[in-house]
Structure formats: structure tokens, C-alpha cells
Symmetry: C2
Subunit: 161 residues, 2 copies
């Protein structure tokens, strides 16, 4: 009887590849003296695009649950990457803003990510990468919570075709 090969199991490969990339980026950040985790980077990307999002909006856009965002925010506050203000119209909402430090790190962090990504994906053709991203999006959108992120993307793409 042929053995089930873990090395061909999609879940296993996803976990390994995800950790591999995440660890590489994390190490690169650390080596260059940035006290920012890969998960912080995900939040920062959203804030660099649009400052002052609420925690709920951040959760929706990053596919994280509100509890995770709540704790990430707390951690990022401690590192003074962001600050927080109560919404004037709705006291339930807390709006997250970048500090000067959080803003200033954009260029360098983006560069470091780009660099690391190039190393990790070296030798993979553009076509294979495009296929992979398409497949990953399909798998990710089976998760009800994060479904909307990719629906939105698909809609926008549709408009341009």
C-alpha cells in the first residue's frame, strides 16, 4: 500500500511555505533593526493606504478576527507605530492612526519585503506565480470571514476586462 506523503499534502505545504516566507521577512526586519512583525506589516499596509481606519475595518480588510486585531493594535501601540482615537460620531469605534514613526518606516519596510520576496521566489516564473496566487485566493475565499476581500478584487478586475 502506497504511503500518504505529507510532502504532497496541500495543508502541509501551505503551512511550510507560509512560515518560510513569514520567517524570512521577520528575520530581514530584525536584521535591519525594525521592531515590526509580519502581522504588524499587514496592518501597516492598510494604514499606509488609508489612515484612520477603525479596528473593524482593519479586521475586514486583513481577514483577521476582531480579537486578533484588538491585540495586534495593543502591541503596535506599545511600539508606537500607531495611536488611537475614539470616533467622534460613534463612541464604540476606535480609529487607528499612524504615528510619524509608523509613517516613516513605510518606504524602507516595503523595500525590505520586496527584496526578501525576490529571494524567496527566485527561480519561479511569473506565470507559475500568477497561477499560484489565483489558486491561493480561491482557497482563501472559502473562508467565509475573508470571502469579501477577494470578491471585491474580482469585481474590480472584471471592470477592467
Amino acid at each position: 500500500m502506497s504511503q500518504y506523503r505529507l510532502e504532497d499534502a496541500l495543508g502541509f505545504l501551505l503551512g511550510m511555505a507560509g512560515r518560510s516566507l513569514s520567517n524570512s521577512v521577520q528575520r530581514t526586519f530584525s536584521e535591519h533593526g525594525y521592531n515590526v512583525t509580519t502581522e504588524h506589516w499587514i496592518i501597516l499596509v492598510q494604514l499606509w493606504n488609508q489612515d484612520g481606519l477603525t479596528q473593524l475595518e482593519l479586521a475586514e480588510r486583513t481577514g483577521k478576527d476582531q480579537a486578533s486585531v484588538s491585540r495586534l493594535i495593543q502591541n503596535m501601540l506599545n511600539r508606537e507605530l500607531i495611536y488611537r482615537m475614539k470616533d467622534a460620531d460613534d463612541a464604540r469605534c476606535k480609529r487607528i492612526h499612524l504615528t510619524d514613526s509608523g509613517k516613516d518606516q513605510q518606504e524602507k519596510l516595503m523595500e525590505l519585503v520586496k527584496q526578501t520576496l525576490a529571494e524567496v521566489t527566485e527561480g519561479i516564473t511569473e506565470e507559475d506565480m500568477a497561477t499560484t496566487k489565483r489558486v491561493l485566493k480561491k482557497i482563501a475565499s472559502k473562508n467565509l470571514a475573508t470571502n469579501r476581500i477577494f470578491e471585491e478584487v474580482d469585481r474590480k478586475k472584471g471592470e477592467n476586462e
Copy 2:
């Protein structure tokens, strides 16, 4: 200036897709009354293939570090999926064996994983899936620690071609 789209970032997609699949499998296990996590499943697959591996061997084969394996093993001991014996020749090694319960769950857990995987990957062609797995392996093997898992696989494949 065009914004950096998180939805196209490989690291983000890997994280999302990985969690999506892992959560689906986890939920399926729970719904069917199995007190087993996806990480336990990864260890179990290795033991179903070969019982009595040491913790180091498990770490090497699953791409986990020894500390992670140590704690997973502790957790699996508590759930009585496995038991542990000191190696007769080398008192430093602890060999991990399946309990009857751990053995008996193989067929059903494999079936549940297969089923869940089919749901999550529904609508993805075999070809795209093959490409994706190839890319994921390449990315995963940039991680020095886990490199060997895939080198081994490549060598074996080479023999058959």
C-alpha cells in the same frame, strides 16, 4: 500613485489560504467528535507511516523545530493519541508510539481530510494545483530547516524519471 494591494501580496495570501484550510479541517474534526488538531494530524501521518520515531525524526520530517514537537507531543500524550518510551540504546532519545486510539483514528481522519480538501479546492484544475504545489515546495525549501524534506522528495522523483 497606485496603492500596494495586500490582496496580491504572496505572504498575505499564503497566510490566509493556510489558515482557511487549517480552520476548515479543524472544524471538520471537531464536528465529527475528534479531539485532534491539524498539527496533531501532521505528526500522526508520520507515525501512521512509521511508528516509533524519535522526536528529532518527527521534527525533521514535519519541518517543525524540536521545541514545537516537544510541546505537541506533550499535548498528544494528554489526549492519549500516543505514548512515549526511552530508547534502549540512547537514553537521550524518546521514541513515540501510537496508542490503539491513535491507530484507530487513521482511516476516519484521513477520510475527513480528503473530504474537506475536496470542498476547499473545488473548482481548481489538477494542473493549477500541481503548479501551486510545485511553487509552494520551492518556497518552503528556502527555509534551511526544512530544506531536506523536499530535497529527499526531489531525489526520489528523479529516480523514477
